[in-house]
């Protein structure tokens, strides 16, 4: 820790010790980068090799005859059960479930955090603590009771549809999954936003109230625009968790045409017989991880500093 420099010390530190510090920092960062990248390197390199090369060769060596065949197979030919349309068939299923779930749970989390910090009421700490507990419940415990409730909702939806002619979407597997993920994501999103808003200067809110802004106006005009870092963290977390969830996906949406990507990936990778096609499996796994990775890269641009600097002085 003593190796880090700080801007105010530029004048006092000698150039040499500053360079030394920089080298140490970059060195450490590079070392860790290797640690994080190694398995990815293995996965990537394997996905471009042929099966013979994998079985006879070295895990870390570069492919002698790189081939795109595993990727093509993973994208459009690989079989999940009896359906052989590759991973592309299930992409949309995941997207149409994850995006609403992330948006809704993030928005609700932001509102909850806002209420819990800027509009306190008696017992707000207890309410917050109680909501936090949702983060610890093991999903296997809720699988069956939730299934029962979803089933009842589905039948209720059918009754509603017969009565009114409108399909409210109850019992639709995508709706079910969105609902489940929102409910169990609320603990985290509320936590993230609440802690962030805790440190948010209340003077701004107060000032806005003096100017006559309403609850929602303050939220929209003041809280949200200044929440970029925590929105990024929340979106990353929720997107990752919901995209990669297997348990709920297989239990509530396991049917061939509606299954999300994770279930399909499991069917591809977790085969227990036959020659295990490592190259195709690695390619499929990376295709499955791609949207999350894109979210990370895009979201990273919002990790900006200094949003709060000078905001109070105004």
């Amino acid at each position: 820790m003593s190796a880090v420099t700080s801007p105010a010390r530029q004048a006092s530190s000698g150039v040499r010790s500053r360079t030394f510090n920089r080298i140490v920092i970059y060195g450490l960062l590079a070392l860790f980068a290797i640690f994080y990248l190694m398995p990815l390197f293995v996965m990537l390199v394997t996905s471009f090799k042929t099966m013979e090369e994998i079985q006879n060769g070295n895990m870390l060596s570069l492919p002698h005859e790189p081939t795109f065949a595993p990727w093509i197979k993973a994208w459009s030919e690989v079989c999940s059960g009896l359906t052989c349309v590759g991973m592309k068939g299930y992409f949309w299923n995941s997207i149409k479930m994850v995006v609403p779930a992330v948006l809704i749970s993030t928005l609700l989390g932001a509102l909850n955090g806002y209420v819990l910090t800027k509009w306190r009421f008696r017992g707000h700490t207890l309410v917050f603590a109680m909501m936090l507990f949702a983060c610890f419940i093991p999903f296997q415990s809720v699988l069956l009771p939730m299934a029962t409730i979803l089933g009842s909702l589905g039948r209720f939806g059918v009754t509603l549809q017969n009565a009114t002619g409108f399909n409210f979407g109850l019992g639709n597997s995508t709706v079910n999954l969105v609902f489940v993920h929102v409910v169990y994501g609320l603990g985290f999103t509320t936590l993230f936003f609440r802690n962030y808003y805790e440190a948010f200067p209340t003077e701004l809110v107060k000032a806005a109230q003096v100017d006559g802004a309403s609850f929602f106006q303050i939220f929209r005009r003041i809280m949200l625009p200044n929440s970029l870092p925590i929105i990024v963290v929340t979106v990353i977390y929720q997107f990752t968790n919901i995209w990669n969830d297997f348990l709920f996906a297989s239990a509530y949406a396991g049917s061939g045409d509606v299954m999300p990507m994770t279930v399909a990936l499991n069917n591809v990778v977790n085969t227990s017989t036959g020659v295990v096609e490592y190259n195709v499996n690695m390619a499929a796994a990376m295709i499955a991880a791609l949207p999350t990775l894109i979210v990370y890269v895009v979201a990273g641009r919002y990790f900006v500093r200094g949003l709060m600097a000078g905001a109070v002085k105004g």
Binding site: M1, V4, S6, A8, I25, L28, L29, F32, A33, Y36, V42, M59, L60, L111, N112, L116, F121, T125, M130, M131, L132, F133, A134, C135, F136, I137, P138, Q140, S141, V183, Y184, T190, L191, N195, A199, P201, T202, E203, K206, G212, F215, V232, I236, T240, N244, F246, L265, V269, A285, A288, A289, T292, Y296, V297, G300, F303, V304, R305, L307, M308
Partner: protein, 334 residues
């Protein structure tokens, strides 16, 4: 102008400070002259109305289901839930298994592994995440490249992480074999095949996956700290080390709380990682309580025992989290 009549003149409890807490109380008393109008009542209630659905959902879908699980643990549920209370036999069995250490029972293995894994996983992720975040915050060139590199492992599902590391750590197929082929023949790393060390491989894979995200959380926290405070402290003559220890890290306490909760949640959820990485470990030596619960509830058709184990897990977490939460949250509401 009508808005002014609304009774939400903020009441200041304490003097302003840049990061201090300020409570805004909504007090109808200020409107005593006019009496509370329907509109003002609504405005008062609005925040609670906004919070209500989430809170209600938590009550039903979290606490309701916890109660259901507790109820089941006192029944004789096997494959399916049965609702006739039969007594604490599930707990008695678990209690007996807690002391079966030679050979270790699955339950004993699960709880000792949870202690080892939980502690190491959370501690290392927190330290590593904080360390990397501080490093990255030093105006590093190429931060945009390094950040996704540290973060991306979280994008991979547990199953994929487990399979990748399983390969990597297999003495016959992975790192050991590669290093042997490259000439370093005395290198041995067969933890994954060793019943006493296999849990540490789970720690390695878990830390690899999650520490980048913890780093992102700390980085967001660091970015949210008002630069003015840091400058002020430096002008006062604080060294870098003191700066971080006395000012920055205490300011990051809410992030520690969030990170701890995220890590605890991931640790509880690590069922897939254990199975994919170790297939349970030699003789079942890598089991975590989530594996135990899954196995007993869904494979052995012993739902009562599975529920009891879930309840015990929850109680353990409560015992750790509640004091922590209490100390963290209590301070804030001065």
């Amino acid at each position: 102008m009508a808005r002014r009549a609304v009774s939400d003149q903020p009441v200041l409890d304490e003097p302003m400070s840049t990061v201090a807490e300020t409570q805004i109380k909504l007090t109808p008393e200020h409107d005593a002259r006019r009496g509370p109008s329907v509109r003002s009542r609504l405005q008062d209630l609005l925040p609670k109305i906004v919070l209500a659905p989430s809170f209600a959902a938590t009550i039903v879908f979290v606490y309701g289901f916890i109660l259901w699980t507790i109820y089941l643990s006192f029944t004789n549920s096997k494959t399916f839930p049965s609702y006739a209370i039969t007594g604490p036999r599930a707990y008695q069995r678990l209690w007996g298994w807690t002391f079966d250490t030679d050979p270790p029972s699955s339950w004993y293995t699960s709880i000792t592994n949870m202690g080892i894994f939980g502690f190491l996983y959370i501690a290392i992720c927190l330290m590593l995440g904080l360390f990397l975040a501080i490093l990255l915050d030093q105006k590093i060139r190429g931060e945009g490249v390094l950040r996704p590199i540290y973060l991306y492992p979280m994008a991979l599902s547990f199953i994929v992480t487990g399979v990748a590391w399983k390969w990597f750590l297999d003495p016959g197929l992975g790192l050991e074999q590669t290093l042997h082929q490259w000439g370093w023949t005395s290198f041995h790393f067969d933890w994954i095949k060793n019943k006493d060390f296999v849990i540490y491989t789970v720690v390695i894979a878990g830390v690899w996956q999650a520490s980048g995200f913890i780093m992102a959380m700390f980085l967001a926290g660091l970015r949210g700290i008002d630069g003015e405070i840091m400058k002020a402290a430096q002008i006062d003559g604080a060294s870098t080390f003191q700066l971080y220890r006395r000012i920055v890290i205490p300011l990051l306490r809410p992030v520690f709380l969030s990170a701890f909760i995220v890590l605890a949640h991931l640790a509880i959820k690590s069922y897939d990682l254990v199975v994919a990485l170790t297939s349970g470990g030699p003789g079942g030596s890598a089991w975590l309580p989530s594996n135990f619960m899954y196995e007993f509830t869904f494979k052995r058709n012993e739902m009562a025992v599975g529920s009891a184990s879930a309840v015990i897990m929850l109680m353990t977490i409560t015992a750790i989290i509640v004091p922590y939460l209490y100390s963290e949250l209590r301070e804030k509401s001065r």
